[in-house]
Amino acid sequence: MNTRTLELLVGLFVAAGLAALFMLAMSVSNLASFGGDDGYVIKARFDNIGGLKVRSPVAASGVRIGRVSDISYDLEGFEALVTMSIDPQYNVFPIDSSASILTSGLLGEQYIGLEPGAEEEFLVAGSEIDITQSALVLEEIIGQFIYSKADEE
């Protein structure tokens, strides 16, 4: 094997190693977005998003139709502002659809469930969902349960 091929192969090896490092760094930090996001964007406000994260799924009847693309805190309404990107083929959701934050399984990941409404108008890019339900926080539920038990007695 001549020197040139040798150098080339070693260069490839080092490049592959660095690429692997880069890929790992990307998959642990939030910089990369895998797969194209060419859907339309809608927004919703929640009192409490619980453990929802960027890239969490958005589902209707359990079928994934989009992803959470951004989460921020709105200082005007003191609420969480969640931006979702919905896949372009699901473009006929009524404007009065509701969004709630649900948990898949007991310990599973949190996702947004979209429940279609009945209006004739459809959600388009930039529209906002008005009817929302926050994440269930286990401590609050247990607190309420104990409180109501104490009331009964």
Binding site: T3, L6, E7, L9, V10, L12, F13, V14, A16, G17, L18, A19, A20, L21, M23, L24, A25, S27, V28, S29, N30, F34, G35, K53, V54, R55, S56, P57, R64, R67, S104, G105, L106, L107, G108, E109
Partner: protein, 273 residues
């Protein structure tokens, strides 16, 4: 009477011989350890020779790094796939199968990536290094170099050592990356988990420096130790075909043990708060 006395003397002498033997082997082991350390300093000093002749390093990077790549990629792929399957079966009972990616990525980055890569590296590249240097010694090429006023440590040993130290972290990174992809294949394509949940769960739980950085430090340390053991065993071997075989075996055995012991020490240092 005299006969009995003689017999007693013989028994006593046999016992003394045994104790002497014990002391001799302890001293031999200690002096070998000392030689290994002096040798390491010689090699580190010899690294400067690489500045003048970088071609030597390139050649060794090829035989140490590039030729180990195939076994690393295949092993990484299957380790990642098995991890994903096992994690799935363990977590599906709790409805927490979305955490499969966290388990796969964390165990690959923190433990399996550096450790399995280092074990494979000791078997594939370390043994080859020992055999190569040992054969050069056995055929008196090393003393020939010294005759010609060429420093064999600078010319033969240092490039191999440095190539091992450079290759290990790169190989470990490739192992982990391929392992994560293997885990992704099984979890998403085979078991039908959500692709977004796979990446987002991993991203939310894995820290860049805490996990990836510490894993890389581990693999650098393993690369240093395995390469050191490999070149020393080759350089210090008994120059016969039998001695060469023993030296190669010792490289793999000592290398693997050193990796596992060091892994415990490093883990205790890094991940205990």
């Amino acid at each position: 009477m005299i006969y009995l006395l003689d017999r007693g003397k013989d028994v006593l002498n046999a016992q003394l011989d045994r104790i002497q033997g014990l002391g001799r082997s302890t001293l031999a082991a200690l002096s070998r350890l000392g030689r290994a350390n002096v040798f390491l300093i010689d090699v580190l000093v010899g690294l400067t020779g690489m500045l003048i002749r970088p071609g030597l390093l390139i050649k060794q990077l090829f035989s140490v790094g590039v030729q180990t790549l195939v076994i690393i990629v295949v092993a990484g792929l299957f380790v990642g796939m098995v991890m994903a399957l096992q994690a799935y079966y363990a977590l599906v009972d709790f409805g927490a199968e979305d955490s499969v990616s966290v388990m796969v990525v964390l165990s690959l980055l923190r433990e399996l990536g550096p450790v399995i890569t280092a074990l494979l590296f000791a078997g594939r590249a370390g043994s080859a290094l020992t055999a190569e240097i040992g054969l050069m010694k056995a055929t008196e090429q090393l003393s020939g170099m010294e005759m010609m006023a060429v420093n064999p440590i600078e010319r033969v040993v240092a490039p191999r050592f440095l190539a091992g130290v450079i290759s290990m972290p790169l190989l470990a990174a490739i192992f982990s990356a391929v392992g994560v992809l293997g885990g992704y294949l099984v979890a998403v394509e085979l078991l039908g988990l959500d692709a977004g949940a796979f990446w987002s769960q991993a991203q939310s739980k894995v820290e860049l420096f805490e996990d990836l950085g510490n894993g890389m430090i581990k693999s650098l340390v393993f690369g240093f130790v395995v390469s050191w053991i490999a070149v020393f065993e080759g350089y210090d071997c008994i120059p016969t075909s039998e001695g060469l075989g023993q030296a190669t075996t010792r490289t793999v055995v000592y290398g693997s043990l050193a990796i596992l012991v060091l892994d415990f020490v490093l883990t205790a240092l890094m991940f205990s708060k």
